[in-house]
């Protein structure tokens, strides 16, 4: 067992899979010699050499196209997209090509590839380097999407993504890169499509994702002193979605709150809330509550960004109101 930062867990995750499988390759902007702009890939070039760990030009279409083509011809490539905001620059390759090709060819083309990307706000980068775009990927049939919130989940979910025969987007909350967690020794492999109950409770289910998970946990601790016993769930995987665990928790608590970093409209929580409404309506004791950012781009100033992103105070306050109905 060792205590690792999330950023250290990223490089350990990539190294674990590259060590195991010589067909795993890793490319991206500044990922090799510089070790990544977030220092998440340090040491990989030295360990695996310039063929398998490679710096690319600033050409997001070429990066994503290259991993698609390589996956069609026998590699299991991993691409880093430096900021998830850059999805918008290469969205054709992701949404039209990678996502659709297996279906369009009736299964002739397999695309075992991973795109990992730094996502979300909290670091004062302004609107074009702070978005939470996991919902964009979730909306496209043919993409799997996971969002690890701890170092150990980063390793396990990344390993599951690399070993999966379908394209997987691994979304990393950049504000968590400095966070720490215990990581067991040896190989770690998790499972796509599995949510995790991090805190059991009887009164309300709080479903959170990514950087909102530690905030939801802290809010739940605070609520317990007010007599509210909250269950906190880390959704972890948007596609496939662990509906069984989520709906099971709602059946137990009767109240449901989502905590999302994304803007209000079409956030992942809307889809999950609709599932709860359709399938657990008669178990609900109160209206579903969605906690999101306002429907705005994220501002840069810390005073404004902190107002926009759900805070521990805001989560605790809204969950408490939800349980008073």
């Amino acid at each position: 067992m060792a205590e690792l930062t999330y950023r250290e867990a990223v490089s350990r995750a990539i190294a674990q899979e590259m060590e195991r499988d010589p067909s795993v390759y890793f490319i991206g902007e500044d990922v090799a010699a510089a070790g990544g702009v977030f220092k998440t890939t340090e040491g990989l070039l030295e360990r695996f050499g310039p063929d398998r760990v490679r710096d690319t030009p600033i050409s997001e279409q070429a990066i994503i196209g290259a991993v698609m083509g390589a996956a069609m011809n026998g590699l299991r490539p991993v691409a880093e997209l430096m900021f998830s905001d850059f999805f918008a620059v290469c969205w054709d390759l992701i949404a039209n090509q990678i996502a659709k090709t297996r279906y369009m060819t009736d299964g002739q083309v397999a695309l075992p590839l991973v795109i990992r990307t730094a996502n979300g706000g909290g670091v004062r980068f302004g609107a074009q380097h702070s978005q939470s775009v996991e919902g964009w990927a979730m909306a496209i049939p043919g993409l799997k999407v996971v969002v690890p919130s701890t170092p150990v989940d980063m390793i396990g979910l990344f390993a599951a993504a690399v070993r999966d025969p379908d394209p997987v987007i691994v979304v990393e909350p950049k504000v968590l890169y400095a966070s720490k967690g215990d990581v067991p020794d040896g190989e770690i492999v998790d499972r796509l499509g599995s949510a995790k109950v991090l805190r059991e409770g009887a009164d309300v289910t709080i479903c959170a994702l990514g950087a909102m998970v530690p905030k939801a946990l802290e809010a739940a601790e605070r609520l317990s002193s007010d007599g509210v016993d909250a269950e906190v769930m880390d959704v972890r995987s948007l596609v496939p979605l662990d509906a069984t665990t989520i709906l099971g928790s709602v059946a137990k608590t009767g109240r449901f709150v989502t905590v999302e970093e994304n803007p209000r409209l079409c956030g992942w929580g809307a889809e999950v809330a609709s599932l709860v409404a359709e399938e657990r309506f008669f178990d609900l004791d109160a209206p579903i509550v969605r906690i999101t950012t306002p429907h705005i781009p994220l501002p840069a100033a810390d005073a404004l960004e902190d107002l926009a992103i759900p805070s521990v105070d805001a989560i605790a306050d809204k969950v408490k109101k939800a349980t008073m109905d």
């Binding site: 279409q61 196209g65 069609m72 590699l75 090509q97 060819t105 002739q108 999966d164 496939p240 665990t245």
Partner: protein, 333 residues
């Protein structure tokens, strides 16, 4: 089309290319007829008149080489060896189609023959082809990737991103621009800063400037043999501009009235198939042997048409299959 040197290909290869051009031509003409009969729906983008590019390259490839093409990709897919009946059935939306009816005219794919897909978003397949070549290079398979695209592609970003990456990584990929003078409906010269939309950009990526007569199967083939061979030996990528002409409009909906009559007349007179036939006969090939090829190809197209027509429509159960590698499309537990 005067030639200064004899072709490098022998008679077998040359008759093979003639047969391939005829297969592509008659397949597409039949597809056009089937549209008019209402048996093919949607749209189609025919490459009538451009067959020499497809045949010249197809004859230069190894069985395990990989080809990427565009929505104007019937000929390229067919000439890789994809079964004609399955291609026709795909156009007709049948379960027996090469993609089970899920792809259609713009997405013909036959991985088992190295036809790695027809890509319908302009430029998208340029970096994908580079990626396939990167995998070939890293795995040491000796495969070469050929990526066909239209002149319109030369003005989209992914063209430039892919060529740069292919050059920097010295990838075994040959990019082939089929310059048919029109990007969809607009003359390419009207919207491009240079005269030769592909070849004049080659220098930007440290590549040789290559323009060939895309209506001359021998010239295309010679170029293909040279560049594919060089790429296979580690000599890196190439960019070819093949000048050719689309006999019809951009798509089924386009009568192509915007083209000057004398331009159309001049290019129709340079139809690659009768020109090649004449050249073969002039070089001593028995005209009867060529007539026999014509008969065989027509029979092949007739048989493929009948087979495709008799294929069943897709079962409703197919709708939600093959999104994922497990064969299904489940997104939740």
């Amino acid at each position: 089309m005067a030639r200064t040197s004899p072709p490098i290909a022998g008679e077998t290869v040359r008759l093979g290319m003639y047969r391939m051009m005829q297969e592509a031509r008659l397949f597409e003409k039949r597809a056009q007829d089937l549209f008019l009969e209402g048996l093919i729906k949607g749209t189609s983008h025919l490459a009538l008149g451009q067959e020499a590019v497809a045949a010249g390259f197809a004859a230069a490839l190894r069985a395990d080489d990989l080809v990427f093409c565009t929505y104007r990709g019937h000929a390229h897919t067919l000439l890789r060896g994809a079964p004609m009946a399955a291609l026709m059935a795909e156009l007709m939306g049948r379960a027996t189609g090469i993609c089970g009816g899920k792809g259609g005219s713009m997405h013909l794919t036959d991985v088992s023959h190295g036809a790695m897909g027809s890509y319908a978003i302009v430029g998208a397949h340029m970096p994908i082809a580079a990626g396939a070549a990167w995998a070939a290079q890293q795995r040491g398979t000796g495969q070469v990737v050929v990526c066909f695209f239209g002149d319109g592609t030369t003005n989209i970003g992914s063209f430039h991103e892919a060529l740069n990456m292919a050059a920097v990584w010295r990838l075994p990929v040959v990019y082939v621009c089929e310059n048919n003078l029109y990007m969809e409906y607009t003359p390419i010269g009207q919207v491009t800063a240079v005269e030769h939309p592909a070849a004049d950009r080659a220098a930007a990526y440290g590549l040789e400037r290559i323009v060939v007569d895309g209506n001359d199967a021998d010239e295309v083939h010679e170029t293909a043999v040279r560049l594919v061979g060089r790429a296979r030996e580690g000599g890196g990528p190439a960019l070819v501009e093949a000048k050719t002409y689309r006999h019809g409009g951009h798509s089924r909906a386009d009568p192509a009235k915007y083209r000057p009559e004398d331009e159309v007349r001049e290019w129709l007179a340079r139809d690659p198939i009768p020109a090649y036939r004449e050249r073969l006969v002039a070089s001593g090939v028995d005209a009867a042997a060529i007539d026999e090829i014509d008969r065989e190809v027509l029979e092949l197209v007739d048989r493929a048409t009948e087979e495709a027509k008799s294929g069943p429509f897709p079962d409703p159960g197919a709708l939600e299959t093959e999104l994922w590698a497990d064969g299904g499309s489940a997104w939740r537990s």
